[in-house]
């Protein structure tokens, strides 16, 4: 197998991380491969999921690929990473399949509330109340509560629908297949803690919220994103950590 200088460097970083536990090598691998994760995420945009959310999911897949890659298998890292990332996105779509249909008016109200929360937080210098949001949006308070709750439900279009007009393949079939050889390397490594499963930005947010004690608004200001987005990222990060820890517990129990 002839390797390019980039692949040789990548292998060195993988060796440094897996053999010597070099966390900076892991961070470099994440950073170097994020464009790959983003490119894969873009392929699945427009199917009822926000691109930003898909990039998050793809990044988790990338980190799993880095953590589980086996240098001894003699395959290129990207050959392993692509199906792992695609598999993570596929699992994400499957996990959301239970989602209820959210009426258009609630989706629109939710989008309006997202910007109103930002505007009112800046103007009032505190988080707005439900009554203030309702007044600004011109709706009843109950509708505000309902619309905010609807943001937790994901719209999942049928994965059995044709991928493209006239295509014989359904969406599930186009989401990629994880090769058997890669499946065998799954769950091989027990992560020391769920924190390691997080993408650097998520880890930073968790640290700011639960270690440094910053509020969502303060984190939103520091990172230049909306408060609602911070809220979503915190939940996603906690979910990822919980999943990783549960997976680790199962692995440990199997040994």
């Amino acid at each position: 197998m002839s390797l390019s200088p980039e692949q040789l460097e990548e292998n060195e970083l993988l060796r440094a991380y897996h053999e010597r536990g070099d966390q900076s090598a892991r961070d470099k691998l994440v950073e170097a491969n994020l464009p790959l994760a983003r490119a894969i995420a873009r392929r699945y945009a427009g199917r009822g999921e926000q691109l930003d959310d898909l990039v998050q999911v793809a990044s988790i897949g990338l980190i799993k690929a880095i953590d589980r890659f086996d240098l001894e298998r003699g395959v290129f890292f990207r050959t392993y990473a692509v199906p792992t990332i695609v598999g993570e996105i596929k699992r994400h779509f499957r996990d959301r399949a239970w989602a209820v249909h959210v009426p258009r008016r609630l989706k629109e109200l939710n989008q309006m509330l997202s910007s109103l929360i930002q505007d009112l937080s800046a103007r009032l210098e505190r988080s707005p109340t439900i009554a203030e949001l309702a007044e600004a949006a011109g709706v009843e308070e109950e509708e505000v509560v309902e619309a905010l709750e609807s943001s937790r439900a994901y719209t999942a279009e049928s994965l059995m629908a044709p991928a493209e007009e006239g295509s014989d393949l359904d969406r599930l079939q186009t989401l990629g297949v994880v090769e058997e050889a890669f499946e065998r390397t799954e769950d091989r490594q027990l992560l020391a803690t769920g924190l390691r499963a997080l993408e650097p930005r998520e880890r930073r947010i968790i640290q700011l919220r639960f270690q440094d004690g910053l509020t969502q608004t303060q984190i939103a200001n520091e990172l230049g994103i909306s408060q609602m987005h911070v809220s979503r990222l915190i939940r996603r990060a906690l979910e990822t950590m919980r999943e990783e820890l549960e997976r680790g517990g199962i692995d440990a129990g199997d040994r």
Partner: protein, 135 residues
């Protein structure tokens, strides 16, 4: 858990629901309604929802649980239980892991557990800002 004394000045709302993860949506709506009633800020509401979600996801629940909100002046006391065991006992976790107690300490003003005959009950205290809808 806590019994209310007839005629006391506090206001109380209680909800009994299945002790399952799928109850999370109902709990979020309950907190949303409470936030609207009390004039809690969006962020306080979201933190409280996350606190209760974390309890439902991390604690070991009895088949039927009760969530109760008691409004007393500038504080809302939320109790949830019964739970199979005290969820605030330190877990066998690594130093970087976020256990429930650590999470709750960042999300509510105070979290406290009590063990009674039917199991453990968790009380979460939330401060209501002055000038809000609570009276």
């Amino acid at each position: 858990m806590p019994d209310s004394t007839p005629g006391e000045a506090t206001e109380r709302v209680a909800l009994t629901l299945p002790g399952e993860r799928r109850s999370i949506g109902i709990v979020r709506l309950f907190v949303g309604g409470l936030a609207a009633r009390l004039g809690l800020g969006y962020e306080t509401m979201d933190d409280l929802q996350l606190a209760l979600e974390s309890v439902l996801l991390k604690a070991e629940l009895r088949p039927e649980i009760t969530l109760e909100a008691t409004i007393d002046g500038d504080t809302v006391f939320l109790t949830i239980g019964p739970l199979v065991r005290d969820p605030l006992q330190p877990e066998t976790a690594g130093p970087n892991e976020l256990d429930l107690g650590h999470l709750l300490s960042a999300l509510v003003a105070r979290a406290e557990s009590t063990t009674l005959d039917d199991g453990s009950w968790l009380r979460l205290d939330v401060r209501v800002p002055a000038g809000s809808g609570a009276s």
